[in-house]
Subunit: 317 residues, 2 copies
């Protein structure tokens, strides 16, 4: 295999037909903690897919070439002319090469690819996006833009996670987005503040506590004041300790929805959620508690986005 600088590939699935007959594009979704590779046909169909725990933080000594060969060396050997396109944090300062952000508004065709040649063949990096809000404060994304362009067309998108992103697509352009540190904040509060002391382990499935948190967060004046309620409700015996974690999770998600609505002036659109199914269900539940509607995007947004951006860039012409 290789130098063993990352853990072995996980999750391999092969279509019935021989992939080498059709493969036309290798897409890499290369993030902070994981790397996924998609072998695609000329029409964007995913022929095969592989994953490795070779996110940029897991690859030692910037041995990204080794990691890529370990993941997809056989595919590359079998298809010497197949272009490679990559999205995500691989194009950040901590990644393989830093690619400048593209400013909003940006359509798929505006994502000028960066030709990276520190590999046996060119790897085309998809740039991230930058946005300055009304106060002149910058916000950034890397990788989410590709998923958004892969998921659909116009509308409101939500990509929940450690750093949740909300984004608006109008006339095929991403015109606004904002980052909410909800997931990372939850983890820090749970593990490193007094709120965690009343949380019992396990039993992380108290829907009533979650809903109560969402509603309190959604109706509130902000997170700094409401956080303490996760402690006082438990102190007064009005929330079981087994529900404190779900309550806090709901509280933060409800607050995120409020803040997103304030930032956009309006959040009445149906929100399309791009995420793994569990987290997506959690946010759909929260949206519905707030009288809002959402829908989960089909799987495969990253690969579809890579293919669309490659097409727009003429990489598959």
């Amino acid at each position: 295999m290789g130098s063993g600088c990352f853990k072995p590939a996980i999750g391999t699935r092969m279509p019935p037909e021989p992939v080498r007959l059709e493969a036309a594009l290798l897409g890499l979704d290369w993030g902070t903690t994981s790397l996924r590779g998609y072998l695609m046909a000329a029409d964007g169909r995913v022929l095969a897919e592989r994953g490795a725990e070779a996110g940029i933080l897991n690859v030692e000594n910037a041995a990204f070439a080794v990691a890529l060969n370990e993941l997809a060396g056989d595919w590359l050997a079998a298809h010497p002319d197949m272009p490679i396109i990559a999205s995500g944090m691989i194009g950040s300062r901590q990644g393989w090469a830093e690619v400048a952000y593209v400013d909003l508004p940006a359509a798929a065709r505006d994502l000028n690819l960066y030709a990276h040649d520190d590999f046996a063949r060119t790897v085309y990096f998809i740039p991230g996006l930058a946005y300055r809000n009304a106060d002149g404060v910058p916000d950034v994304m890397r990788g989410e833009e590709t998923q958004i362009f892969g998921a659909g067309t116009d509308g409101l998108y939500l990509l929940p996670g450690s750093h949740s992103k909300w984004a608006l697509v109008e006339d095929g352009h991403i015109t606004w987005f904002a980052t909410f540190m909800t997931g990372e904040l939850f983890a820090a509060l749970k593990d490193h503040t007094i709120l965690g002391r009343m949380m019992s382990d396990g039993a992380d499935n108290d829907d009533a506590a979650f809903v109560r948190g969402v509603k309190h967060g959604f109706a509130s004046n902000g997170a700094l004041q409401t956080l303490f309620s996760a402690r006082t409700l438990a102190l007064f015996g009005e929330l079981p300790e087994s529900g404190v974690a779900d309550y806090l999770s709901g509280l933060l998600i409800g607050t995120e929805i409020t803040e997103a609505g304030l930032a956009m002036q309006d959040i009445s659109d149906k929100t399309t959620i791009i995420s793994n199914p569990d987290l997506g269900r959690r946010y759909l539940r929260a949206l519905s508690c707030c009288g809002l509607s959402g829908v989960q995007a089909p799987d495969g947004a990253a690969a579809r986005g890579q293919w669309r951006i490659a097409m727009a860039a003429g990489l598959l012409a």
Copy 2:
């Protein structure tokens, strides 16, 4: 001395006259991390003052009697009839005995003392306060009520810290208060999220960064979205890494001021700040950045509050 279950007393100061001639009340400000004792005359004058790192979390095996004797055994021996009054977390579930909260509105005379007899003589605990906001969610304080009654009369009070408290006093009654987890949140974000990675150590005195944070937080739609700006501004070279911690501190304090204003509908009153001078100056600076005015309360609010509550309870009659 004693069992050595806590660290030695710190900060002793003695007046010129022999204290035993006048001492009429021993006040204990007994919190989570520290214990302070005030030997007071019948008119409330503080004759002597001592401190020890014997907060309830530092006293092992609930040896509170030992801690009290180590701090003030000589004072107690010299004044066999002197009443003892205590405020703070000593009256919490984790303290010496749990004292029920008093509901708002509450004046000094409403703080019915709890006579605790698990000591050579009675210790009178001052109860904390509980408040339910419009959503029925409880909030609590223990110790701050005593400082507020000691600091003055009607007005708006702010006691900044790990869990900042804002409180309103009207006609001598505390009629509203709210807890903001600002200080503890700052520590958790700094030490346990991606925001801390760009913070350089030392150099924690960037006033421009602090002011920028305050203004951005004060004008914002909430903390979840603005937090990420502490990273992006540094990423774009628009905030020096030496200023990221001050920026984040300002951002949270500005957000706290906004949330407090929303909770109260109005924050135009001059705010009286009860805290150590450094933290007080920080909040005064922040208030002024938000076009608001504040004033620092004189030292000694805890002792004065204990004396006033003891008077109202007839303990000094």
